[in-house]
């Protein structure tokens, strides 16, 4: 499912003394099954943009198009709005804070149970969602309290709660913030799985440029509510100066690649911003110069 953001602008408190431009003329297109990243410093409008994508906020001008659904400044109502929210799942920052039910099963199944589905269907969706986030789906686990889990597990339960609505597009606001390295890696492995196995379209908001570089095909950098940079991730991170002007630092790998490029050490452009791709792109140094000085 393709999502298109077309010249979107958003004002907070329009017409009042508190009026503030949160987004100005932002355009973005994420193809079916692709992964896009939205980066930017705090207050640049990332979360506002995320909330426009599933109709929590209504644009002041411009539109958001998801297949046949179009969110315009007139807003969407009733069934259409619910349908938009069903298609576009949104995982908020620190989503473990939204868990409420006494058991994991109830919490993950909350969304589907509101859809007037049959009990078995709700159960089936709950188990599927838990499997999708690499958690157990057996009876014993479903009956446990979500508050007894570790931080990383709770976050994955929250993600399962969004996935159980079976969205085709998932927007994740800082999915790895505040997690330890292991839990972080698990979340990102889960996201990669969701993309390859379930064909979901992902939009990830992140502060962690390394993760963005490893995960996203395209990257959109926001600065003061405007698009500062946009395009394929590696091309975006090659524009070191523009990235830094947006208040961000390119990921270390992009910095190494830039240095290697400047010193003429690349035999080809790396195919992606991963350690392997970069290593492959480097001109192999003659073996003897490595450590040769030491020996001599």
């Amino acid at each position: 499912m393709t999502i298109l953001v077309d010249h979107l602008s958003l004002l907070y408190h329009p017409g009042s003394p508190l009026e503030r431009v949160a987004l100005r003329d932002v355009s973005l297109r994420v193809a079916d099954g692709a992964c896009a990243a939205i980066v930017g410093v705090t207050g640049s409008g990332k979360s506002t943009l995320a909330q426009c994508l599933n109709g929590l906020l209504t644009p002041s001008s411009g539109r958001v198009v998801v297949d046949d659904l179009e969110l315009t400044p007139n807003g969407l109502h009733g069934r259409e709005l619910r349908e938009l929210r069903r298609r576009v799942g949104l995982l908020f920052q620190f989503p473990e804070g939204q868990l409420f039910a006494p058991t994991i099963g109830e919490d993950v199944g909350y969304g589907p149970s509101r859809l007037k589905l049959k009990r078995e269907e709700v159960q089936e969706r709950t188990r599927w969602a838990l499997r999708a986030v690499a958690l157990p789906d057996d009876e014993a686990f479903l009956a446990r309290s979500p508050f007894a889990l570790s931080g990383g597990q709770r976050r994955r339960v929250a993600l399962a709660g969004v996935l159980s609505m079976r969205p085709r597009i998932v927007v994740l606001d800082e999915p790895s913030a505040g997690l330890d390295a292991e839990a972080r890696e698990e979340i990102y492995a889960t996201l990669r799985e969701l993309r390859t196995r379930e064909g979901l379209t992902l939009i990830v908001i992140s502060h962690d440029m390394s993760e963005v570089a490893a995960l996203a095909d395209t990257t959109l950098a926001l600065r003061d509510g405007r698009v500062a940079l946009s395009g394929p991730t590696d091309a975006v991170f090659r524009q070191t100066e523009a990235i830094e002007a947006a208040g961000l630092l390119p990921p270390p790998l992009a910095q190494v690649a830039a240095l290697a490029r400047a010193r003429g050490l690349l035999r080809a452009e790396p195919t992606s911003l991963t350690v392997e791709a970069l290593a492959d792109a480097l001109i192999p140094a003659p073996r003897r110069t490595l450590g040769g000085d030491h020996a001599g």
Partner: protein
């Protein structure tokens, strides 16, 4: 969704009223409240209420409040008073003022005469209660409009200090007031965020059966409570880490001094009120 929350209605301005100490405003408000209930005993004597209306309207206009804003705040109160006044009129006993009826009322096959007696006491009670409520509301409104929550907490602590010797934990009260006021905006923001998060995963707080809506509210209450408890325990640790409660008595970093206008008002307003009560 929660943009109309009445708490934290402080409007930053630079006026005479804003410049008064919170203590002055609190004391005068208490004084007026006492005066209203004393004046209540003098039947059909409007002097004190008239004087208080004039005073509070002057205060509000001096504090630069927008009349439309005040009206919006007061609307609910008017509805509440309009609903309660008929009951006061009907059910207060005393010397008769007017009699309505007897009317023949029939419920089903039962027919009985109904007579409504409005007494002088009932009339005065209705009028004075309405006045007192309106005045107290206007008074509190002008206090919160012109005083920051921090200044308000400071005022409460300073007024309660003399009672420390009697074992009243004045500083603790102050800190509690301050902390609860401090977290109102945080909780509002958190609730907003939570509503959005739950709506994103299928919750609906506006349609559906009563049971479904009640369940919707549970999805907010549980996480909010959990978050508030976690924050409270974190805050307690942070306060202790910074030495709270080790040395006992706390002092204030910025203690506002009373100025001549504060003292003048504290003397003049009660004197006028007493004069109005006795001689008007």
């Amino acid at each position: 969704m929660l943009d109309n929350l009445p708490v934290g209605s402080y409007i930053p301005r630079d006026t005479v009223i804003h410049g008064l100490r919170a203590r002055t405003k609190l004391l005068l408000l208490c004084w007026l409240a006492v005066a209203f209930f004393v004046a209540n005993h003098k039947r059909f004597h409007y002097g004190v209420y008239g004087w208080a209306f004039a005073l509070l309207l002057l205060t509000l206009s001096l504090s630069g409040a927008n009349p439309g804003y005040i009206w919006r705040r007061m609307r609910v109160l008017f509805i509440l008073m309009a609903l309660s006044v008929p009951f006061i009129l009907i059910w207060t006993t005393g010397a008769t003022w007017r009699t309505l009826g007897p009317l023949m009322v029939s419920i089903g096959s039962l027919t009985f005469p109904l007579q409504i007696v409005v007494t002088y006491d009932g009339l005065w009670f209705a009028v004075s209660t309405t006045c007192i409520f309106l005045l107290l509301y206007l008074g509190t409104l002008s206090l919160t409009l012109s005083t920051t929550p921090v200044a308000l907490a400071e005022g409460i602590v300073l007024l309660l200090r003399p009672f420390r010797r009697m074992g009243l934990p004045a500083d603790e009260f102050g800190l509690m007031t301050l902390l609860s006021l401090r977290f109102v905006p945080t909780l509002t923001q958190e609730t907003n965020q939570l509503i959005k998060a739950q709506v994103s995963r299928g919750a609906d707080f506006t349609t559906g059966s009563l049971w479904a809506r009640a369940r919707g509210v549970i999805t907010l209450v549980v996480p909010l409570t959990e978050g508030a408890l976690r924050r409270a325990s974190g805050l307690a640790t942070a306060l202790e880490a910074r030495g709270y409660g080790v040395t006992g008595e706390a002092t204030m970093l910025h203690e506002g001094r009373m100025r001549w206008l504060d003292w003048t008002l504290l003397v003049v307003i009660p004197l006028i009120t007493i004069a109005v009560y006795l001689y008007l």
